[in-house]
């Protein structure tokens, strides 16, 4: 297992490098000019110097190399400095955003909590909804509950999140009376600090709608996997054996079958984590949650290439990482799987 993990980690390096090259190459074709916002009164030679200060004068491969060094060498040092109070990264150039002229990673760290709270919470809620539904609809296959669950799940992944989000806003923010308990804010307020019960309630209320939208979408997919996996296992011989030797029905389903059916579901859940970050881009946009997704959209619109490059690469790292985690988990959970 350890061998396999190490081998996969080594393969991940060229994969990520290739992805970095692809993203960098795509962005090099960008027609936009970062100096477009600078006033026309600035003389051209000053503009040229500003351009060089952004590192634009150099050949492409040097720019790429510098980004690599900044991302993989300088940024970890900054992190170490931050944790231990040391001074490794002093005076070294970090990846700078063209929009704000501040380090990209600082902005990412600022935006991370919102994304993690909303998206992470929605994923957990989605899983908590999906597992019981999946288990029960498989146990009572073709019952009314199962038919209904199948239909709702089908709707869940057919209706795009930008429509469910807007629909919820229309119902619970626009048409609902402002004083009513069922009124929810349609805009996520990041400046809200949770200090007492009242502000905690406010935080819950403003998270309610985005979390619902994403949780429904995730629950739809995971419950289908759970159902299929349970069905696979319910017809196995060991289930009949367990019943034959007199194990209680509850123990048969909840211990024997559930434990075995969770194996593929856990890997699916792990595989879905990076996609949730990607899918959250739209939901964040709908509810004005200023998380990573909104940061990316803003950076793309403002032609902020270092920011786009770094963010897209972070998403790619997440995908590769969670692919690896899913494979390793599968190997750990299911002793029948041998990678070596």
């Amino acid at each position: 297992m350890l061998n396999f993990t190490i081998r996969r980690l080594i393969i991940a390096v060229p994969t990520l490098l290739f992805i970095a090259v692809v993203i960098f190459g795509l962005l090099q074709l960008a027609p936009g000019d970062p100096m477009a916002q600078v006033p026309l009164t600035v003389p051209p030679e000053v503009k040229e110097r500003m351009r060089e200060a952004l590192g634009l004068g150099q050949p492409i491969h040097i720019q790429f190399w510098k980004w690599l060094v900044q991302f993989f060498w300088v940024e970890p040092q900054v992190l170490i400095d931050h944790i231990f109070g040391s001074h490794f990264a002093d005076g070294k150039l970090r990846v700078l955003s063209w929009q704000t002229r501040s380090p990209v990673m600082d902005i990412v760290v600022q935006r991370m909590p919102q994304t993690l709270w909303v998206v992470g919470m929605s994923y957990i809620v989605g899983i908590l909804i999906a597992l019981p539904i999946g288990i029960y609809s498989a146990y009572r296959q073709y019952s009314i509950f199962d038919q209904l669950g199948t239909f709702i799940a089908m709707i869940g992944f057919s209706v795009p999140t930008f429509f469910t989000g807007v629909l919820l806003i229309v119902i619970f923010s626009v048409n609902m009376d402002h004083g009513s308990f069922w009124w929810f804010p349609s805009i996520y307020d990041t400046t809200l600090k949770v200090t007492d019960w009242a502000s905690f309630g406010q935080q819950i209320r403003q998270m309610a709608m985005p979390v619902t939208v994403l949780a429904l979408y995730n629950a739809a997919q995971i419950s289908r996997f759970m159902r299929a996996s349970m069905l696979d296992n319910l017809n196995q011989d060991y289930v009949r054996t367990a019943r034959a030797k007199g194990v209680g029905e509850r123990a048969v389903v909840m211990v024997h079958v559930l434990r075995n059916s969770l194996i593929p579901v856990v890997t699916v859940i792990a595989l879905g984590v990076p996609q949730v970050f990607g899918g959250a881009i739209i939901t964040e946009q709908v509810f004005k949650v200023n998380g990573l997704g909104q940061l990316l959209i803003g950076a793309i619109e403002a032609n902020d290439l270092p920011m786009v490059q770094t963010l897209t690469f972070i998403f790619a790292v997440l995908i590769v990482l969670f692919n690896l985690i899913a494979d390793v988990l599968y190997g750990i959970l299911d002793p029948r799987i041998r990678y070596d």
């Binding site: 795509l26 074709l29 807007v166 626009v174 048409n175 990076p274 990607g278």
Partner: protein, 322 residues
């Protein structure tokens, strides 16, 4: 690989034994049925799939033939009838410039469906090509599957956004705004969604290649090209058809998402996603404007998904007949 269903047939009886033999061959009572008749029979029993198929057909007809019955110009501006609710003159109301929403929904649907279907065809073509090449030619397998894995590791939505933003200007300049954006979005969606098809097709081709009929075909000197076209492709058509339906659903959602983020088609060129995006600003006055394009997208995707579900069951011979 041995075929479990294959049982050795007795040697055909000769003329003398045929008349008075102890075991005459039973005469088939019904004419032989082709595979597609069987598929259709199975498909007809899947209620969801039939409903999905009918709804999808209805949407396609409404969107492409509707404009002949409802011949208002979707881009005609009428300031005296701005932000109207549903009236007899405009059953679905009008937008902020007084344009008829029903005509715009039809026009938007044409674009959305056209993008969905074209992008699906492109993704299907790329996926089947890569899958068949990787499965059939052992030398290409490793490299093609590595590329597929790399594509699967790309963060697709961010890259799609970047691609659309970057190539918007040059393509609109070469092909005109509408065609340019159409080509761009179809290519972007197609290039980023062929990987699942490629993997499924490759797996099937790998299994097919070891079958006896391929060996038999090779023994009579079938060339690789003919082998793929005549023997491999018809046998992998069912996973391709199933991923086609899923591909349409995926492409329609992706296009609407791009339009919804304001990075799709230009504002005067309606698509369902764009109509939804424009309506968000008028949510307080005319909430029904948000709901209609949303329902159109959802209903289309839902019906296509049910269609795919039924097709998967109908095309799977292990389930068929149950």
């Amino acid at each position: 690989m041995t075929e479990p269903t294959h049982t050795p047939k007795p040697v055909a009886p000769t003329g003398a034994t045929l008349a008075g033999g102890p075991l005459p061959e039973p005469m088939p009572s019904a004419p032989p049925r082709s595979q597609w008749v069987d598929v259709w029979h199975q498909f007809r029993h899947h209620k969801g799939a039939m409903a999905g198929g009918i709804v999808f057909l209805f949407i396609v007809l409404a969107v492409f033939l509707g404009p002949y019955l409802w011949d208002l110009d979707p881009s005609k501006i009428d300031f005296r009838a701005r932000n109207n609710g549903p009236t007899w003159a405009h059953p679905f109301g009008t937008d902020q410039l007084g344009r008829d929403m029903m005509a715009r929904l039809m026009a938007g649907g044409q674009v959305s469906l056209a993008v969905g279907i074209t992008a699906m065809l492109l993704a299907l073509f790329l996926g089947s090509l890569v899958g068949i090449l990787a499965g059939y030619f052992r030398r290409l397998d490793n490299i093609l599957m590595r590329i597929t894995d790399l594509f699967l590791a790309l963060p697709l939505l961010p890259l799609l956004l970047v691609m659309v933003l970057l190539f918007r200007e040059p393509l609109s300049a070469t092909f005109g705004i509408e065609t340019g954006i159409f080509i761009l979005i179809v290519t972007a969606i197609g290039v980023t969604s062929w990987m699942p098809t490629a993997r499924i097709v490759r797996g099937d081709v790998l299994a097919l290649k070891e079958r006896e009929f391929v060996l038999a075909a090779r023994s009579i000197g079938t060339t690789n090209l003919m082998m793929i076209l005549r023997h491999i492709l018809p046998n992998v058509i069912s996973p391709i058809v199933v991923s086609a339906t899923l591909g349409i659903a995926n492409a329609i959602i992706t296009e609407s998402a791009l339009s919804f983020l304001g990075l799709g088609f230009p504002p005067d060129f309606p698509t369902w996603g764009r109509l939804l995006f424009d309506a968000v600003d008028y949510m307080q006055q005319n909430p029904e404007r948000v709901v209609m394009p949303g329902i159109a997208i959802s209903l289309t995707v839902l019906s296509v998904n049910y269609l795919g579900d039924g097709l998967r069951d109908a095309l799977d011979p292990r389930i068929r007949g149950r």
